[in-house]
């Protein structure tokens, strides 16, 4: 390792900088979380630890319903996006048109959320009118379906890239070897390739859950007949302003994300050491 001859202070300075960046990024979140545990709320001189605002959250049926919808939406989005992402990554490996395909796959990342959401809204309105006038169907009325489509568009590029990175380390000879041993294409994928890209699929799942869980703009435009946790928080804040409950809600969202990311990192680390 080159580091053995490097200046030890340069190395320490890098660590210090890293820690500073993390603290700077996280401190607003931590600040909010601290307030959420204070019985006296924001700006109070005293600090008395309490969980009462969190208990209040779980007694509020609107919030519970929003949480339920949020998790259900995240689940459906994962179920739809993962196979699509894996298939796209497989396709990318075999296609001759790599650059155009990549641009196409990543395009949703470069369209601003509100533009994309508004465009989808208008599009679904038109589709919805067409389907109800022509077939009497309500397929594209604002609903879970439209929200799922909006979120899938948002999550797919991430799943695609994460899966592609793990797939790149896989040696295709193994699929050929499996086929020659008598495996069908599907068995070869399931027995040989999938176990080796599992880590990527797992990260992609966690990524999708977090993206879906925290998504506001698209969901707010495209949902129909329900609130998710982020849309509920925003409309609550707009109506009531910041209350101790809002802090608790923010705390809940942040902690859920941190727990998921932490779990993924821990698992990845344990796999690295194994």
């Amino acid at each position: 390792m080159m580091r053995e001859y490097g200046n030890p202070w340069a190395h320490r300075a890098k660590w210090l900088y890293l820690i500073f960046v993390v603290v700077a990024l996280m401190s607003p979140v931590l600040h909010t979380v601290t307030i959420s545990f204070n019985e006296h709320g924001f700006g109070a001189a005293d600090y008395d630890f309490t969980l009462v605002y969190y208990f209040d959250l779980f007694r509020n049926e609107e919030i519970l319903a929003a949480l339920g919808w949020t998790f259900w939406l995240a689940f459906v989005v994962v179920v739809v996006t993962l196979p699509m992402g894996i298939l796209s990554a497989k396709f990318y490996q075999t296609t001759r048109w790599k650059v155009p395909f990549l641009l196409l796959m990543l395009a949703p990342l470069f369209i601003p959320a509100d533009i994309m959401a508004a465009a989808l809204l208008v599009y679904f309105k038109t589709l919805s009118r067409f389907f109800s006038d022509t077939f009497g169907l309500e397929w594209f009325d604002l609903s879970m379906t439209t929200a799922v489509i909006g979120q899938v568009l948002w999550c797919l590029p991430y799943v695609f890239v994460v899966v592609l990175v793990t797939m790149a380390r896989y040696h295709a000879e193994q699929t050929e070897a499996a086929r020659i041993c008598g495996a069908t294409a599907w068995r070869a994928f399931w027995d040989v390739e999938f176990p080796q890209i599992k880590a990527g699929v797992f990260s992609a799942t966690a990524f999708t859950v977090i993206l879906s869980f925290n998504e506001y703009t698209r969901t707010n435009f495209l949902k129909g007949g329900f609130e998710t946790f982020p849309t509920y928080i925003v409309s609550y804040m707009l109506n009531t302003g910041m209350t101790p409950e809002t802090y608790a809600m923010s705390g809940l969202v942040s902690m859920t994300s941190i727990v998921i990311v932490g779990a993924v990192l821990l698992l990845a680390l344990r796999k690295e050491q194994a």
């Binding site: 040696h171 000879e173 193994q174 050929e176 070897a177 499996a178 086929r179 020659i180 041993c181 008598g182 495996a183 069908t184 068995r187 027995d191 040989v192 176990p195 080796q196």
Partner: protein
Amino acid sequence: MSNSVLAVEATGIAKSYGTVQALKPTDLRIEPNEYYVLLGPSGGGKTTTLRLIAGLVRPTAGRISIYGQDVTELAPDKRSTSMVFQSYALFPHMTVEENVAYGLTLRRMPRDEIRAEVSRMLDLVGLNGYDNRRPHELSGGQQQRVQLARSLVLHSDILLLDEPLAALDAKLRKDMCLELKNIQKTVGVTFVHVTHNQEEAMTVADRIGLVAGGELVEQGSPEAIYNRPEKRFTADFIGENNIFDGTATGAGLDIGGRVLGLPTPAETGREISLSVRSEDMRLLDGEPKPEGWQALSGTLIDKVYLGLIGSSVVRLESGQDITVRQVGAMSSGEVGASVTVAWPTEAGRIHLS
């Protein structure tokens, strides 16, 4: 299986990728229990040929039969072939035992039968007791043995080997060659082996097919292909031959001013080549040319001592470089000295194409 049926019979098989012809229409006939080697330079089409037999690529023309059954339309898992790859082909998340057992597991063979069969195969390839290792814990040679066991355990009609020893060092490759040959004799299965290494091919093969430029150039036993090459390309690729191109004058070959004696007469006016093995040539140290020999003079430009042989390079007056190899001896001449190279006329071989 009756001897009249061929293990592999390919008729007019060809493979193109767009405008690139990886393999021109080729006929290939491999006998049962034969150790057949496809030898040739990289990019010559030998691996394509092997992958066509395996079903990993689909021919753009032609038919392939294995023991009389037309397999042209069959996917690799539906063919009675198994294959050893150059590297990276073991399943890294499985143990040695699971790797070897994989094909049998797919066949839903009872567990204890699988175990018995796997341990028999690991014995055969000399990996007894390695059952629970992971591929990354094995050396390159051991990994190739596991691949071999994984292929043999299927008892396929044809075992295909794609550069199986290319990633191994020279000493190990030599040992593995002999072992492959022995295993093939023991199990009595048709082996088709692809390599670019001539020594490897000569060691294992019953018959060598020389593949280059997308064509099967020539085939024959190692001895025949080395001593009696028919094509100029073969003489150039196999062994270390000196080749003279020129026009036949009946009993001689006109190489531009000089006429060399031919071992047998050739049709006058025809463009032909004459090849002479470097070990059949000698440097004459001042002594006169023996009766029935051909001689050319030139300048000694290089001398290499390789232990068993000494190799000298002589630049002829025409500018052509000639290699002379002598067992256990070095030419006494100094680099830069004028020398004469000579060879018995009957050591020459005529190539019409």
